[in-house]
């Protein structure tokens, strides 16, 4: 994977190489292996490269023979060999072995229709000189990022927001509505971001910029209509799709490793990778000193079964707090959990061990109904059908088995779910989570709350739901909401791409092969969630391939310590500084007195609930985010300029 950045001018006033270098330097971590740019009177394209396929010949920007079509691209087209063959049959002549060139010729051949043919994870910008337009596109599920900002008729775009800021042309200001979405859903919902005027291109869409006008179209929409009955050959089809998805993602000119969480999904990905890899498989895991979070026993069992060379990133007392400011800088958003931090450290370890491509298990829980949220939805519906039943609500006590037992039983636990909302509400499945998350709003300052006015994040989400949404099953609706509110904007972004690419590691996600997704979501709900048994068909497939300890194991979500990461030992200096009432007042988003109350409880060891843990991480990360991006724009620009001088030495300009 790589990073891209660029500018499209409304008028032919040129784009300086210095500007492009500055933008590219801000995202150099995404592509430490190469750097190239192209500039003419209207368009500037910059690219930083992580060499994975056609290491020698895949330099970018890449153009067709006459330079009419030129692309910068971040990602992988896994079916590039098949597309290349098809294009060659149609007369296209290829000069390299890279997947990038498939975009160039594929666009020449099919225009926007190219996107439907791609199997991959990608974001790219393509200059079409014939139509004097710039074409931007992003993969179906938003595995890779693409941001843009329109300024004075010009379009600035990049893989990360820090490159937009490095241009010096894009204002650094917060968007209260974007922040409010972070404190509702865990992430701003594309196209919104936490920054004013900066938009994320939505997953599954493309945009065309021409003469200063940007038009956006959707090319891929999820349909979560589940079949009434499973096809007789469902298991065989699943087998074929899993193997094909992993096989395609093993296409690489460098060794592919695997992230191994100890759960079912990453174990399946690694098991198939071990079968298909021409190298000895390398696997990488996070372990925690806290036994409640640690899964090393399961990780070791799988690594041993697969015979992989296994390395671990241990998370003890101070690691998370030490890197958390860097984590927020890379994530470019406030966070509600520290969970990205161990993955930031894991990608560093992976890269240090010489691996720059890994498979990960993301996406499976959403499409195979792995999370407890799906069970919770079923139990809530079951209880609400007989509201007077005293027995039915006891089923809630069987959920979230990884939480301390004393906290997940009794009237108070059950009432939390039962009172959360009506089944008629399209957001029914997620209302308990949203209600819990939005407790962060209790900490807002009066000024920030007033600035939000009548903004209603949940109302906007309801308005955005696709036609036919209410015709899907309750679990189909829940899966859709999980994908659009959490998977795409948070798990794949702040916790996925950003943490991996912080150290130049490409994470590939075989469970988000669109063919597998479409097959899985089309299965009957009970094939996936059978009673309260999650991922039923996937478990059946894995029996015989993975140790029984893995296939029979209930879902254990990946978690990291939150409040204890900052208050469980020596308190890092920045924590006291940023949570100090004067600092909180200066930032203006939260109420200093409320934050002081929370900090008091954290220091006393009393903040043990999910709500207060989320609030603390949200507030601290917001303070860090504000300091990094909004307090010192001048300093950031100075740093970027300084970096440019270093990068310029390795730049190649194709003008």
């Amino acid at each position: 994977m790589c990073g891209l950045a660029g500018v499209a001018r409304a008028r032919p006033q040129g784009v300086s190489a210095e500007l492009l270098e500055r933008m590219a330097t801000a995202i150099r971590h995404r592509g430490p292996d190469g750097f190239g740019l192209h500039a003419d009177d209207r368009i500037g394209l910059a690219h930083v490269r992580l060499s994975v396929i056609d290491v020698a010949g895949g330099a970018q920007p890449m153009a067709n023979e006459d330079g009419d079509v030129r692309v910068i691209y971040n990602g992988e087209i896994y079916n590039y060999l098949e597309l290349r063959h098809e294009l060659q049959l149609r007369g296209h002549v290829f000069r390299t072995r890279s997947d990038t060139e498939v975009l160039v010729h594929g666009y020449e051949q099919w225009g926007e229709g190219l996107l439907e043919r791609l199997n991959g994870q990608f974001a790219f910008a393509l200059h079409d000189r014939r139509t004097a337009s710039l074409f931007l596109a992003r993969d179906r599920f938003g595995i890779l990022p693409l941001y843009y900002a329109e300024r004075g008729g010009d379009l600035y775009f990049a893989s990360e927001i820090k490159a937009l800021f490095a241009s010096g042309a894009v204002e650094q200001a917060l968007d209260p509505e974007g922040l409010d979405e972070v404190f509702t859903f865990w992430a701003a919902r594309p196209p919104r971001t936490p920054f004013r005027g900066i938009r994320a291109l939505e997953p599954g869409t493309w945009a065309r910029w021409r003469d200063g006008v940007l038009s956006i179209r959707r090319y891929y929409a999820l349909d979560l209509t589940a079949a009434a009955a499973a096809p007789a050959d469902a298991l065989e089809t699943l087998d074929e799709l899993l193997r094909s998805g992993v096989r395609l993602r093993m296409r690489s000119d460098v060794p592919v490793g695997g992230y191994l969480s100890g759960g079912l999904d990453s174990s399946i990905a690694c098991a198939l990778a071990a079968q298909l890899s021409p190298y000895d498989l390398r696997t990488f895991s996070v372990t925690f000193d806290d036994p409640q979070l640690d899964e090393s026993m399961f990780q070791q069992a799988v690594a041993s079964e697969l015979g992989s060379r296994h390395a671990v990133q241990r998370i003890g007392g101070g690691e998370i707090a030490r890197v958390f400011p860097d984590v927020v800088r890379h994530a470019e958003t406030p966070l509600l959990r520290t969970a990205p931090a161990p993955l930031y450290l894991l990608s560093r370890l992976t890269r240090e061990q010489g691996i720059k491509v890994v498979l990960s298990g993301e996406g499976s829980d959403e499409v195979f109904l792995g999370y407890d949220l799906f069970k919770e939805t079923l139990v809530r519906l079951f209880c609400l059908r007989q509201p007077d039943s005293r027995r039915r609500p006891r089923l809630f006590d069987r959920l979230y088995g990884y939480l301390p037992p004393q906290t997940r039983k009794g009237d108070f636990w059950r009432r939390f779910f039962l009172d959360a909302g009506s089944p008629d509400d399209p957001l029914f499945s997620h209302l308990p989570r949203f209600r819990l998350t939005t407790r962060i709003r209790d900490f807002y300052s009066d000024r920030f709350r007033a600035g939000l006015g009548a903004f209603d994040a949940l109302g906007e989400l309801r308005q955005s739901l696709p036609t036919g949404f209410m015709g899907w099953s309750p679990l189909g609706r829940a899966a859709y909401l999980e994908i659009v509110t959490l998977l795409s904007p948070y798990l794949l972004a702040a916790q996925g791409d950003r943490m991996a690419m912080a150290h130049g590691v490409e994470a590939r996600v075989p469970f988000l092969d669109h063919r597998l997704v479409e097959f899985a979501v089309g299965l009957p709900d009970r094939s996936r969630l059978c009673g309260l048994r999650e991922k039923a068909i996937l478990r059946r497939w894995a029996e015989g391939t993975l140790p029984r300890a893995i296939t029979g194991r209930p879902k254990q979500p990946y978690r990291a310590p939150d409040v204890p990461a900052f208050f469980g030992g020596p308190e890092p200096e920045y924590v006291g500084e940023l949570l100090d009432p004067a600092s909180v007042r200066r930032t203006g988003i939260f109420n200093p007195d409320a934050v002081a109350g929370l900090v008091r409880r954290c220091r006393a060891g009393l903040a043990t609930g999910v709500g207060e843990n989320q609030a603390l991480v949200a507030i601290l990360s917001t303070q860090l985010w504000h300091r990094e991006f909004l307090d010192a724009p001048a300093r950031a620009r100075a740093a970027a300029s300084s970096g440019t001088r270093q990068a310029a030495a390795g730049a190649s300009i194709a003008a």
């Binding site: 004393q406 009794g410 009237d411 819990l436 209790d442 409320a594 109350g597």
Partner: protein, 105 residues
């Protein structure tokens, strides 16, 4: 009107619990008006983890033991319910209750 003098008055239980709840669960919402019969759960004041803290406070502050099966909405769902429940426990068997229970931070 409280009839016995060996345990805390119901109003004292309610007031002390209210102060505890305000300090520990409503510190971020100082303007919140918490009435005696306002639901502690439905309004989001206390969740299932908070109720464990609350039980610890009640046991400590009023020198009584609360069994797991007593942790119900009927007993702990509002300040008023807590007042009635704790008062009854303190005064029913003479095993608990103190007019001057120790201060809890």
């Amino acid at each position: 009107m409280d009839q016995q003098t060996t345990g805390p008055a119901q109003s004292e239980i309610v007031d002390r619990t209210r102060a505890y709840v305000r300090e520990n669960f409503l510190y971020m919402r100082p303007d919140w008006k918490l009435g005696d019969e306002d639901p502690l759960l439905g309004s989001g004041v206390i969740d299932s983890i908070g109720v464990i803290e609350l039980v610890e406070f009640l046991q400590d502050a009023f020198q009584l033991a609360i069994a797991e099966e007593e942790i119900t909405e009927r007993n702990l769902g509002t300040l008023g319910a807590i007042g009635r429940f704790v008062y009854q426990k303190c005064h029913a068997n003479g095993s608990g209750g103190s007019l001057r229970p120790r201060q809890v931070a």
